[in-house]
């Protein structure tokens, strides 16, 4: 094969060129070459610069600016290390903070309003319907929220016993980790079917159910419009949700409308689309701290008009209102679909332990991943779900329990209202009664004074054989006041049940009347003398 002559020539040219290049490099990198280059550099640079300034000033300006910025960024601007928190405070600032620091007590001092003796001394030893044995003494229970008397019913106890035998006691795991027992699911379905809702989700505790549900839906940036009288679990839920909250005056629909109108005006002023923000109205069905009902129809009308979602806490109203005990919606005759998120409790009227949230599938399914109490707490002990199902079946079979409860509540409220020196602050039909010292008598008293008087009345009732309590508010409730909540007035809190007999109620009224008379007389005497 004859070699291509041009190829050979090209090859020779290449080697010659490389040789020349090599010689040039050697020359330039030799000591003399480098020296020559360095000496000529300033002149060359100056010539280059002037040429540039003359021909392309933009080049100079922009490139200089960029180079200066890069130098500043890398060398002059101090890099902050976010993992070293101390770098944000100078030594002096740290010293100053340390000096100014005043340690707060780990446990705040005892609340003078709490009667320490009473709070811990009453230990229930036996329970038989409304009859209890407390510290060895037989009493009639006027304090427990066993509204329909279902906690002591044979069927409920049997169901609990059977479940205990079948599943053992605790479920020992959260719902997502083999803690879902079939009775949980059955209880949820039973509750949803009973209320006519799509689905229900069960939590192991009523208070944590309330505290978990609202934060699952409302986050930072959302708006909650809450009644100022909501009780502690809802206050916790509002705090946990990090949402913006506005309070309206307790049960005052006009004030609620004022708040709704203000928000709407703000929307207009800020040119804000209302769909950018999740908005809820937060109310209880029956307010635990006040014993009055939420005016649901007016509320729903407002909610529809201003397009808010409604969160209704039926912890104390489920099982106590409505012809069949379905709660406030049935009582007022409004469709359940108007309430987007509803919490019910199986710890109160149903006599078991736990809470549930009821709503559409969307609402309930969301909580299976976002409901804190559902995801992170161990699931309810299976026997509580079985007991709840049995209680629900009883309620369905015996709706007259609700009527009986209503009768008892009304009778008791009226009878207590006749006691001189006391006044009933709750609504007649409420099974949770709040009885306080009449305004005429307590005029000029301090809150602490009123609380002590009521505690003395309660103690006297206990001595007479009727277990009565005073309402107590934690420091959290007191704190909530500074945030817009309402601290309820001190009161005796009675819970009436459907299984209270007339004789028991009459006895309770008589005991309260005598106790009140005695204590108030003594107090009046003490005041005059002291």
């Amino acid at each position: 094969m004859a070699a291509d002559p041009s190829l050979g020539d090209s090859f020779i040219d290449l080697t010659i060129a490389l040789e020349q290049l090599w010689q040039q490099v050697r020359r330039e990198l030799s000591r003399d070459g480098v020296k020559e280059w360095l000496l000529g550099a300033p002149a060359r640079y100056k010539k280059w610069w002037l040429h540039l300034v003359e021909h392309a000033p933009g080049h100079v300006v922009v490139e200089t600016a960029l180079i200066l910025f890069i130098i500043w960024l890398i060398f002059l601007r101090k890099t902050v290390d976010p993992s070293k928190e101390d770098s944000f405070l100078s030594e002096k600032e740290i010293d100053q903070l340390v000096e100014e620091w005043q340690p707060e007590p780990l446990v705040p001092g005892p609340d003078p309003a709490w009667d320490e003796e009473d709070a811990q001394a009453l230990v229930v030893e036996e329970v038989d319907g409304t009859r209890v044995v407390v510290n060895g003494k037989k009493m009639i229970n006027m304090a427990s929220f066993d509204f329909l008397g279902l906690a002591g019913r044979g069927e409920v106890k049997e169901a609990a016993r059977a479940a205990l035998n079948k599943y053992g006691c605790g479920s020992c795991g959260p719902r997502g980790f083999y803690g879902s027992i079939d009775v949980h699911v059955m209880a949820e379905q039973a509750m949803a079917a009973f209320l006519g809702a799509e689905e229900a989700i069960s939590y192991s505790d009523a208070a944590s159910s309330v505290s978990s549900t609202l934060p699952a839906f409302a986050k930072k940036g959302d708006l909650l419009i809450a009644d100022e009288g909501v009780y502690e679990p809802i206050q916790t839920a509002i705090n946990l949700s990090r949402a913006q909250v506005r309070y309206f005056r307790h049960n005052d629909m006009e004030d609620l409308e004022r708040v709704l109108r203000e928000v709407a005006e703000e929307d207009r002023r800020l040119d804000r689309n209302e769909r950018e923000q999740r908005r809820f109205i937060v109310v209880e069905g029956l307010y635990k701290n006040f014993g009055d009902l939420c005016p649901l129809p007016a509320l729903i009308a407002l909610k529809r008009q201003y397009r808010y979602r409604l969160y209704l806490d039926q912890t104390f109203s489920f099982g106590c209102f409505g012809t069949a005990g379905r709660g406030l919606a049935e009582h007022f005759g409004v469709p359940l679909a108007d309430v987007e998120v509803m919490s019910v409790s199986i710890s109160h009227a149903l006599g078991s332990v736990g809470g549930m949230c009821v709503g559409t599938s969307e609402v309930v399914d969301h909580q299976r991943l976002s409901g804190a109490g559902y995801c992170y707490s161990a699931s309810a002990p299976p026997f509580t779900s079985s007991a709840a199902m049995a209680a629900l079946a009883l309620l369905e079979k015996e709706p007259e329990l609700v009527t009986k409860l209503r009768e008892n509540a009304v009778w008791l409220a009226r009878a207590l209202g006749k006691i001189p020196g006391l006044e009933v602050r709750s609504q007649e039909i409420s099974p949770v009664l709040h009885v306080g010292v009449a305004k005429a008598v307590s005029d000029g008293w301090t809150r602490e004074e009123e609380e002590r008087v009521l505690q003395a009345i309660a103690r006297a009732c206990v001595d007479a054989g009727y277990a009565v309590v005073t309402s107590k508010y934690t420091l959290l409730d007191v704190e909530a006041v500074s945030k817009g909540g309402l601290l309820p007035e001190p009161s005796l809190r009675l819970a009436v049940s459907a299984v209270h007999t007339r004789a028991e109620l009459e006895g309770a009224v008589e005991a309260i009347r005598r106790s009140a008379a005695g204590v108030l007389k003594k107090h009046a005497g003490g005041r005059k003398g002291g």
């Binding site: 922009v62 960029l66 890069i70 902050v80 976010p82 986050k219 940036g221």
Partner: protein, 204 residues
């Protein structure tokens, strides 16, 4: 929570070592601090340049156009991802980051960290390359410079933290509420029993 001796390797102080301050917990953005992300990021840019060079703008004199296109596209995408999209896909942060863009979420908004400086540098290097290759020609500068300044630099400076110009991209309930009202709610009007509603509500 003192200064921790976290060594001086490339990844020192990055992985969880039991003492990490909250500013580094945001799962949405903490991955931006790692060197392997940086390599991938620069790799993407290099890949884009190579792609353009090999396909559409392959003539030698097109290098300026290639780099300009890279610079502009890079800034637009970067602006959208880091300075426009808000929030975090983390469902369990209770909406903490709902009103914050990605840049504002990085390291809790602490400015001039290594991560942020590196982002500044990449932006600057891109505009430098694009302008240098086009010899600072005015028509190219007219595109590159505003894109660099307004999409690249201005949104990143700490003075623009949580600033929403003309109300663009603001979040209802977070940006239009004064900060003190966010943490303490408004009270209802006078709650004295039987009192008529006082005119207006007082914001704290």
């Amino acid at each position: 929570m003192g200064v921790r001796d976290s060594g001086n390797g490339l990844y020192s102080g990055m992985y969880f070592d039991g003492d990490r301050p909250a500013s580094l917990y945001n799962k949405n953005v903490e991955w931006l601090r790692y060197p392997h992300f940086w390599w991938l990021y620069l790799g993407f840019v290099a890949f884009f340049v190579t792609l353009l060079r090999l396909t559409v703008l392959s003539k030698p004199e097109d290098l300026g156009r290639v780099l300009t296109v890279t610079h502009v596209v890079h800034n637009m995408v970067f602006f959208y991802l880091f300075h426009w999209i808000k929030g975090s896909p983390d469902n369990f942060s209770q909406g903490e980051f709902n009103g914050l863009t990605l840049w504002e979420q990085i390291e809790d908004g602490i400015p001039w960290t290594k991560t942020k400086k590196l982002f500044f540098l990449v932006h600057t290097a891109l505009v430098f390359a694009a302008s240098y290759v086009t010899d600072y020609d005015f028509s190219y500068l007219a595109i590159n410079a505003p894109v660099y300044v307004f999409l690249g630099i201005i949104p990143k400076i700490p003075e623009m933290h949580r600033v929403r110009v003309f109300g663009w991209n603001k979040t209802a309930g977070i940006d239009d509420v004064p900060d003190d009202l966010l943490s303490s709610p408004s009270r209802p009007t006078a709650t004295a029993a039987g009192g008529a509603a006082a005119a207006g509500k007082k914001n704290r």
